[in-house]
Amino acid sequence: MEPVVCEKLTKRYGEVVAVQDLDLTVRAGEVYGFLGPNGAGKTTTLRMLLGLIRPTSGRVLLHGQPPGDLSGVGAMIEGPAFYPYLSGRDNLRVLARYAAVDDRRIDVVLDLVDLSGRAKHKFGTYSLGMKQRLGVAAALLKDPQLLILDEPTNGLDPAGMADMRALIRRLGAAGSTVLISSHLLTEVEQICDRVGIIARGALVAENTVAELRSGAGLRIQAAPLDNAAAWLRLVLGAAAVAIVDGALDVTVEPARAAELNESLVKAGISVSELRTRERDLEQVFLELTGGESNGR
């Protein structure tokens, strides 16, 4: 049974459509990256998953059940929110009571996020990074099978970000299913098995990072370069060939690499390098989201 399934999920606020017909599936044991520009509908979707807001239409299933039973689900949504007059530990004590979790688990999660040394201090005195780590600690309190983290590295310094990514990777490797939302492409690229890209409330792509980046074409080093470009334009059409940084970027199925190599050689052109050209994730992201930075 898939940990997360959304079917035709839609949320409207009056005339404003926050999420539109979203289909999304997170498989057991994977780290799934939910990627999108600010305001694309990521947090709204996550809130619907957790039952905090009701969909206008469509369906959410967590482990096959409608939202409601969150045992085995840990989450941090849109930044950490705690009681400023309580210490970090007392905040977790409060949450442990709600979750019916033994207090011994508190030390474990504080240690996991490297916050044991400041656990006695009031939450109101924490830095943004420490607040974020306490938020993740709270999400881990139930030792969840499914962890939902909304922008988990927000506010962390580079070392903190690296630690957080390592923690998420460890949780994924240990068998937990992790759904993280982010607008940081490198972060998603580094830790996610699959990625869903949302723009203007709709899912515009869902695949592995490698597959999203692949399929762009071939990179060819050949001499003479101009002759090679002219020959390939004749074979593939002018729009498929571009000279970039002293080599050719060719938009073509990578499976045709051998055929094109043979064709170039037969035309008297020497080929010194021919490889699949991967797009970077940023390029994919900008293409799919239309380059928006603030969808709504």
Binding site: R47, R97, A99
Partner: protein, 273 residues
């Protein structure tokens, strides 16, 4: 629900505002129910409320004298407590933190209401204890009788105080839920307690007979009539024998139930943004 109650108890106990409100209630209660009447009586002043005399501050009148503040000023403090305890969750954005741990909204709210009811009882007992100490000191200083009312009268008074105090905390709680925050809820709650109630009873009711009838169905006049029936000194703001103790208790209890129901329905139906 037990887990939610225990969680809410930690939050209430560790929140400085809780103890500040209790401290203010005790100081104001002592000041207006004992210190000022005693000073007035012993210095022989002749003001509008001078008729109370020392007798009102003696142990025999402890029930009425400690209940007199609940219709208005102690009630206002309890409304603030209710708003802070529930509305604060919106201000800090902590509803999502709580609810993603798994408890249902009804369960969390039941825990909150339960803890507010316990806090209201603690307030009432603390005020009663303050009244006991103050009245004994005055009786000792004036060489007056140390006789307290019967245990039944004391328990009935504490029960009535608890009912009113809990109703006011629930009023605050439901304001916090309806207005999704603290500032506006506290402001409007206090406007109702300190201004609107007085305007209704002092200005509108004497002018319009239907307002005079209708105010019997409001929570403040209900609380005022209930404490008046148990001996609270008339002339204290909000204390007025508009109806008997039984009907007044029913009015207060009805509002208590209505506030709990309204808060629960609204919290369950609304999105947590």
């Amino acid at each position: 629900m037990v887990g939610s109650f225990r969680a809410e108890l930690i939050k209430l106990n560790k929140r400085p505002a809780t103890w500040l409100l209790l401290g203010i209630a005790l100081v104001l209660g002592a000041l207006f129910a004992y210190v000022i009447p005693y000073l007035g009586a012993t210095t022989g002043t002749t003001g509008a409320t001078a008729d109370r005399g020392i007798a009102a501050t003696l142990p025999a009148n402890i029930v009425g004298n400690t209940l007199g503040g609940y219709p208005v000023f102690l009630g206002a403090l309890l409304v603030v407590l209710g708003v802070l305890f529930v509305g604060g969750e919106y201000g800090w954005g902590s509803w999502k933190t709580v609810l993603t741990q798994g408890p249902s909204r009804s369960s969390v709210l039941a825990g909150k209401f339960g803890v507010l009811a316990v806090a209201a009882l603690a307030f009432v007992l603390a005020i009663f204890l303050m009244g006991t100490v103050a009245s004994v000191l005055i009786a000792a200083a004036e060489n007056e009788s140390m006789a307290f009312p019967s245990a039944f009268d004391i328990l009935r008074g504490i029960g009535a105080g608890w009912l009113i105090a809990t109703m006011w905390t629930m009023f605050g709680a439901v304001l916090g839920i309806l207005l999704r925050g603290v500032a506006l809820a506290v402001g409007l709650g206090l406007v109702w307690m300190l201004a609107v109630q007085n305007l209704i009873s002092q200005l509108a009711a004497p002018l319009l007979p239907w307002v005079d009838s209708a105010q019997r169905g409001l929570p403040g006049p209900g609380a005022g009539a209930l404490v008046a029936a148990l001996g609270a000194p008339t002339g204290t703001p909000g204390v007025d024998s508009l109806m008997g103790g039984g009907p007044a208790a029913l009015v207060v209890a009805a509002y208590l139930v209505a506030f709990v129901a309204l808060g629960t329905v609204v919290l369950r139906r609304r999105d947590i943004l």
